[in-house]
Structure formats: C-alpha cells, structure tokens
C-alpha cells in the first residue's frame, strides 16, 4: 500500500521536506474527508427537499424564484 506523504515548506529557511504522514495527520485528513462527505450529503438532502416541494407545488425553480422575488 502506498504511504500517504505530506510536504512542508519553511518560509524562514526555504527548506522543503517531504515525509510520511503521522498518525495525527492521517486522522486529520480522515476527519476532513468525513466532514466534507457529511456536508455534501446535507446539501444534497436540502436540494432534494427543495425539489420535492417544487414538485408538489407544480413549479419550476425559476418560477419559484420569480414568486419569491
């Protein structure tokens, strides 16, 4: 399995370092991914609910925008 690597650039020294990610960094990446997926699911659910309401009212999205000004 390919190891996940991270890179660091030090502005003071100009030094670049590439190394394997630490356990903490891997956990951080995992949390970011989970939160991102959760946010996407939340946005998708909102969009589905909005579309369902439009369907019930028999309106298109543009018509709804016109209605709400």
């Amino acid at each position: 399995m390919t190891k996940i690597q991270v890179k660091e650039y030090n502005c003071e020294t100009g030094e670049e370092t590439i190394r394997d990610a630490t356990a903490e960094e891997l956990e951080n990446i995992k949390v970011i991914a989970e939160n991102h997926e959760a946010r996407k699911a939340e946005l998708a659910a909102k969009e589905a609910a909005r579309q369902a309401m439009l369907d019930r009212l028999g309106l298109t999205a543009d018509e709804a925008k016109l209605l709400l000004g």
């Binding site: 690597q5 991270v6 890179k7 590439i18 990446i29 991914a33």
Partner: protein, 285 residues
C-alpha cells in the same frame, strides 16, 4: 590721480614723463593699511584703480563712482547640467546634485539630499520563494513572518488525484472545531449568531482530476493580530469534475477562530493526493 593709459612698450632711450608714470607705472595694485588710508592717499580715484587693504585682506577697485570689494565670499558654481541643484556639503562647501529621473522625489539619505524613487503605498511580497509545488496529501507552509498587514494565498492549477476532491485549509496545525465554511448568503455570514462548526475551511469546490484551470484565492486580513479572530475569505474557481469544460465556483467566508497570529497554513485534500498545482503565499503591506 591720473586715469590709466593702458599698456606701453617703452624703448631704449625713451624719456619717462610724469604722465607715463601716472598713466602706466602707477596703474598696478596699490597697497594700503586700510580703506581710510587709501581714501586719504587717493583723493581723486579713477575708474579701474585697484587697492589692496591689509587690515581686511581685500582687494578693492574703483567703479568710477565708488570703491567696491573685488574679493567675494561667493562660491564657485558647481552646476554643469540642466536640472542640477546645489547643496551644502561638508559645512559650506557647495556641491552639485544632478537631476533625478522622472517620478523621483527629493529626500534625505545620510544627511544629504538625494533624488529617490518613492516607495510604493503597498504591494505584495512572495513569501514562499518560487511557490510551493503541491504534492502528497497535504502541504504545509510554515514559519510565516508576521511582518505584513495581510496574507494572500493563490493556488494555481491545482489538480487532485481523485476526481471530485476538494481543497481545505487549516492554520497553525489547528485541527479543532475552530473554523466555519459557507457562502456570504448563509445566515451566519449575514450577521446571525453562529458557532464554530468545522475543523477546516473548504477553499475549493469538488474539482476535476483531469484538467485544471483552477485558481484558488484566500485572503487573510490582519493575520498577525494576537487578539482578534481571523475573518478570512476565499474566491475560487475550478474545472467541474463532471464536465471539465464547465466550472464550479466558491465564494466563501472562511473565518478562523484563533487570536494568535497565523504562522503556518496547511492545504489538504478531502481525499487522495495532489497531482499538480502550485501555492503562492504573498505578504501584503
């Protein structure tokens, strides 16, 4: 006292008359103890008479109506070129200052006047020299100096290895719930109360992994404050991961809850590793 007669070349055997003496021989520079002595001796001065006064070490000449001081305390003109100016160097020594170039202003350097190009009112300085190529799953830019007013991050042509991945930013290795993401139309971004709900700021939409015309821009005003939270914001555009010829944009307020100065930032993907891209971090004066 007779007026001067000019120049005469006397020849051998020629008789020297009183007029010759007065008109030729007496037309040198006379030496007197003072102006008083001069005036007493020369009661009818003629235009062009010269007299040196020992008490003041000055040479005077008669203009036809008055004695005038020949010695001046003025300076030798040091100017040579159109636009030159004169300044006092080493006490009262006059010196030439050549004209500056268009747009330059007169200022002082080392106690002397110089023409100088005025400093700009602002400008950006690239902090991570040459930019930092994105590689691996995250890239950290550390030891950011706190000598600027604002920071501006530009990520060009970033491309994730995994289709649809998004780019996130964290500061000072802070992985706590000290971030918030959202558009400017979100209630929390329009004045409503809110909480810090995220562990990172999202700074790109879901991005295509095949084509990249992406431009990610994050502005960090007053980043070096040690007492205020950081009201960062971003404007980003990437290739749509479904139809790369289309785009996805992100216009987000991405505030960060930290009172400490931002001295490092980490760019991470939501999944996978970077294929390409370069991050440029600028300090803004």
């Amino acid at each position: 006292m007779a007026a001067g007669l000019g120049f005469k070349d006397f020849v051998t055997g020629e008789v020297l008359t009183a007029a010759d003496v007065d008109g030729y021989l007496m037309q040198g520079i006379w030496v007197f103890a003072s102006a008083t002595a001069r005036d007493a001796a020369v009661t009818s001065p003629q235009e062009g008479n010269f007299a040196y006064l020992k008490d003041t070490n000055t040479t005077t000449y008669y203009t036809g109506s008055a004695w005038t001081n020949l010695d001046t305390t003025g300076m030798v003109n040091p100017m040579t070129t159109t636009g030159d100016t004169i300044y006092s160097s080493s006490g009262s020594t006059p010196a030439r200052l050549g004209i500056g170039s268009t747009g330059q202003v007169l200022t002082v350097s080392g106690g002397l006047p110089v023409w100088s190009t005025p400093a700009g009112g602002g400008g950006m300085t690239l902090i991570n020299t040459g930019g930092t190529t994105l590689t691996g799953s995250s890239v950290t830019i550390s030891s950011i100096p706190t000598t600027y007013v604002d920071l501006r991050l530009i990520v060009e042509n970033y491309r994730p290895g995994t289709d649809g991945a998004a780019l996130f930013i964290q500061y000072n290795s802070d992985t706590g719930s000290n971030y918030r993401n959202g558009s400017y139309s979100d209630t929390w971004a329009t004045g409503s109360a809110s909480t810090w709900a995220s562990t990172a700021n999202q700074i790109s939409p879901d991005t295509d992994n095949g084509t990249s015309n992406a431009s990610i821009n994050v502005y960090m005003p007053n980043y070096s404050s040690a007492t205020t939270w950081k009201p960062n914001y971003c404007t980003s555009i990437v290739n749509d991961n479904s139809t790369p010829a289309n785009f996805r944009g992100l216009y987000f307020a991405v505030p960060y809850k930290a009172s400490a100065a931002i001295t490092s930032l980490t760019l991470s993907l939501s999944t996978g590793s970077f294929t390409s891209g370069t991050a440029y971090l600028y300090g803004v004066k």
